[in-house]
Symmetry: C2
Subunit: 224 residues, 2 copies
């Protein structure tokens, strides 16, 4: 925003905010609550990634409050795309499930902030202001947990799943057996078994059941 329309204002012009959450009543409530802050201007709200794409382009927000779980995809996965559409927009991820893995993924994707929904409304307001000024916003508690984990695992938290593994995880979450998955993807049962074994290793699980359990807890799959 340097020089585009609003030249060198010290700090406070109105911060243009876009709210995206699949729970429409939450998006609307949050929008109203933010609107009551004098220095914030809610310029739009949406309930899906596709709406986010459209609104980021048309409503020219400074900060995007983006839910992690959206009906048409993963919010974190859409961050890069939103940045491509509007590079100056800062994205703050809102999430119901606080997972270290998710936090890392969001920050790596270029998120300016990461706030759990269990936090107070004030934290969102503060987070939006901070993000608008180019600061990063992460809950102290989450950050501590993350650092602890990084220290414990020697930075090797890069348990990133491959595309195929994520695909298999999704089918696993539907309750499909190895044979079902093999048929669905037209590959061998052995291959499925290998992928599942790799998933188990990466997630630290010892069975498909535990894989699913962890995946749900960490928000890696759509539970709806």
């Amino acid at each position: 925003m340097t020089g585009s329309g609003t030249p060198g204002r010290p700090t406070t012009g109105n911060v243009r905010v876009l709210v995206v959450d699949d729970h429409q009543m939450f998006a609307t409530s949050l929008a109203q609550a933010l609107q009551s802050e004098s220095d914030l201007l809610v310029v739009g709200q949406g309930t899906s990634i596709s709406e986010a794409r459209r609104l980021v382009a048309s409503a020219t927000p400074d900060v995007v409050l983006l839910d992690h779980r959206l009906p048409d995809g993963d919010g974190v996965g859409a961050i890069a795309e939103l940045h491509r559409i509007r590079p100056s927009a800062k994205v703050v991820v809102l999430t119901a499930t606080t997972s270290d893995r998710l936090l890392v993924a969001a920050m790596e994707a270029g998120a300016a902030g990461f706030i759990a929904k269990t936090q107070r409304l004030d934290d969102v307001v503060g987070g939006v202001r901070a993000a608008a000024q180019g600061e990063s916003v992460v809950s102290a508690k989450l950050l501590a947990r993350l650092l602890l984990r990084l220290r414990r695992q020697g930075g090797g938290s890069g348990a990133e799943l491959t595309e195929r593994e994520r695909e298999i995880l999704d089918l696993l979450a539907k309750g499909l057996s190895n044979a079902d998955i093999a048929q669905e993807l037209t590959i061998s049962v052995h291959t499925v078994r290998n992928h599942v074994a790799n998933l188990s290793a990466k997630l630290g699980a010892h069975s498909k059941l535990e894989v699913l359990s962890i995946a749900v807890r960490e928000g890696l799959v759509d539970s709806t």
Copy 2:
């Protein structure tokens, strides 16, 4: 609300509303949004069942907006208790996961309403007003789905889980094996197997994995 089309209601007094949701920022946002309605008075907000108990007694609400998933238990399971504390209070269940089973459970527990979080904020406002007047509030879409299912299954949707089964389901959701569960509950593996088989039958699953998948989808377990 938008004032247009609102039928002439008595407006005998302000409706006292209590908001309970584990996502504090949602509870606060919703509370603020409801507060802006002239005929509604938000008398409190909480993030757990224990807080709900306390606030129902001390804040004397007419309508309680209660989230389904709370940190210290199931919101639906707490409805009866809240009624015991304050019989005149109407409970409207808010839920992220729209499941027929959950809807039935909520209505049977004495809920005055059942609203999905994907619905509009106006629906909540209308739901609160309706509940205050003794009406039942259920989304037309949900109701249609429910009726369709009842017709299809001949009313056999009464797949209520026993206390023990729910207990085993929780452990299952943690990724524990049959042997682990047996040890945890100090019962035989055979018994666990029987319970799991009963769970499978009641949920219409064919494996533990599918049981967990369905349970998560229907919000029967804490995914966090």
